[in-house]
């Protein structure tokens, strides 16, 4: 597509037509204090070599995960992605195929979506999964809105263990629909507190396991309590690998299971793009956001795949669509599917065990440091750690020593009164040397 810039004459004519004197007239509603005076001082155009050098220098100011002892989690996880995953997703049959307005043309893409849905349904213990959402946080927001549609109620209760960014995303999405969001105070082990917050107006309770502090919770009692009040249980997760070892939320009574799928097949990508997982009970499928690839037979009786439920999407149902999502995270979803296929059930379980083993080693090592207390009692690969000092300062001091120690709770939630708490994660990527280095550096800065 050619880029055809407007001429000054074009601009003058367009402005004249709408009765504006200058471009600035279009911004009269923007407060003066928010307007920039003059132009940004950008350097003159440079050659390719200079630009490459400059960008290289900027990139070197980052601290890449691979060059440090890295213990960040809290929503994004560093796992091994086999080279075969990258190779396969970049095959042009997959990379360039889109689910267009006649999606059945791309049979390979639809089959990959179908396999993905099957994997997500099995992982979460649910009956039906969609073809993916943008990321975990938007999947969680969609779950809240779906629960409101199903129950025709308007009150959404969040536990104090759901990732704060997920809560923020849900607030943004739900506000315009007039839904009321009740957020319980941050708590390391407080998922069950949603039970006391239930009432007859509650559409759903949203809990997370493992939660943002790493705590794993049996959701059975919460499900029973929610159902007794006619509310749904939404079970969220940020670490999909945990499902290789933990009872699936569906088996514990969850009505909607949503979460982040980045952990499987996808790199950290500086925070995105990621892939949202979303699964529910078959009886709710008409209220589920997004699309579903279904299996059928063609005119000759041969197996084929179709896109179903898209009649409920925005391009057909306009403002009455179940959701404003009209697509899915295709390539990230494909990476998830391929990695999951390579792992298989036994491989996923082994990967999950490895993660848990590393986290136990990390927890034991940190608990041995004077003044440090591990707060998370039941964890998968992530723990909340209480330090004798504000956590953000410790994180900064350790980063200078080549250890990325974790995420300070104050960075996620400034109002949690947990400034001395750090969330640290260990995966199969962490070596014993990493953990020893962490402990040594921590002792030095405390």
């Amino acid at each position: 597509m050619r880029y055809l810039p407007l001429t000054d004459t074009d601009r003058t004519q367009m402005l004249g037509l709408i009765g504006a004197k200058s471009i600035d007239d279009l911004y009269v509603d923007v407060p003066k204090s928010a307007q920039r005076k003059g132009l940004v001082d950008l350097p003159k155009a440079q050659g390719e070599l200079e630009v490459t050098r400059h960008l290289q220098r900027l990139a070197e100011r980052n601290t890449p995960a691979g060059r440090t002892a890295f213990f960040l989690g809290a929503g994004a996880y560093r796992h091994h992605v086999p080279a075969s995953v990258d190779h396969l997703i970049q095959r042009s049959e997959f990379l360039t195929a889109y689910t267009p307005y006649q999606p059945e043309i791309a049979q390979g893409t639809l089959q990959a979506l179908y396999e993905f849905q099957t994997q997500v349904a099995m992982l979460t213990g649910m009956e039906v999964a969609n073809a993916s959402m943008y990321d975990g946080s938007t999947a969680c927001a969609e779950a809240a809105m779906m629960a409101a549609r199903v129950t025709k109620r308007t009150r959404i209760v969040f536990s104090g263990g759901v990732h704060p960014h997920y809560l923020d995303t849900a607030r943004t999405a739900c506000e315009a629909l007039g839904l009321e969001i009740v957020a319980l105070p941050a708590a390391v082990d407080g998922e069950a507190a949603v039970i006391d917050a239930l009432d007859d107006a509650t559409a759903c309770v949203i809990v997370q396991s493992p939660n943002v502090f790493g705590t794993v919770t049996d959701l059975t009692k919460i499900a029973d309590a929610a159902h007794a009040k006619g509310a749904l249980l939404v079970a969220n997760f940020t670490e999909a690998v945990s499902l290789g070892l933990i009872e699936p939320p569906g088996a514990m009574g969850a009505d909607i299971v949503c979460g982040e799928g980045q952990s499987i097949g996808n790199s950290l990508n500086f925070g995105g793009p990621y892939v949202g997982l979303f699964a529910t009970r078959e009886k709710f499928v008409r209220q589920m956001p997004g699309r579903v690839a279904g299996e059928t037979v063609d005119a000759d009786g041969k197996r084929g795949f179709v896109l179903t439920l898209s009649t409920r999407e925005q391009h057909i149902r306009r403002e009455k669509a179940t959701s404003n999502i009209c697509t899915n995270s295709g390539l990230c979803q494909l990476a998830f599917t391929i990695h999951m296929t390579l792992l298989g059930e036994a491989g996923l379980t082994r990967l999950a065990e490895l993660n848990h083993e590393k986290a136990i080693a990390l927890a034991d090592a940190l608990a041995g440091v004077k003044g440090v207390e591990v707060l998370t009692k039941r964890f998968f690969n992530e723990i909340a750690v209480k330090l004798p000092k504000p956590a953000q300062g410790v994180v900064d001091a350790l980063a200078a020593k080549g250890v990325i120690a974790g995420v300070a709770v104050s960075r996620l939630n400034a109002h949690a009164s947990m400034d001395d708490v750090l969330i640290a994660c260990a995966t199969e990527m962490n070596t014993d040397d990493d953990i020893a280095g962490y402990v040594a550096a921590l002792k030095a800065v405390l």
Partner: protein, 122 residues
């Protein structure tokens, strides 16, 4: 006597109750119906309000209340067998029964002849 709306619903009075569905023309235009979403018995609707949703392989459309009233029955058969709509849109494929808010409202709608003319003009 069956009466029709411009949105292709039909209404037929059976005693004090109005039986409502979508017309043969509407069913033909939609193609194979795959799902019907019906209101709850007891729900009240104003004339023209969204009352039900009918979904075919390629689209999902609202069904509007042709007259104001209260739902007294829904065709349960449509939940498990939505294809019933295609089998007999103006008979076995009825959607809901309404107790009209005003008995005379139905007479304001098109009769069979007027609807046939209306459809011809589309």
């Amino acid at each position: 006597m069956t009466r029709y709306t411009e949105d292709h619903e039909w209404v037929r009075m059976e005693g004090d109750t109005a039986v409502i569905g979508i017309s043969n023309y509407a069913a033909e235009q939609l193609g194979d119906v795959v799902y019907v979403e019906l209101p709850a018995v007891g729900a009240r609707f104003e004339k023209g309000a969204d009352m039900a949703v009918v979904e075919s392989a390629k689209t999902a459309s609202d069904v509007y209340a042709p007259i104001a009233g209260e739902i007294v029955a829904v065709n349960e058969k449509l939940s498990a067998n939505p294809e019933t709509v295609n089998e007999g849109p103006e008979a076995v494929g009825w959607f809901v029964k309404i107790k009209p808010a005003n008995a005379g409202d139905v007479n304001a709608l098109m009769d069979e002849g007027a609807y046939a003319e209306f459809v011809k003009g589309l």
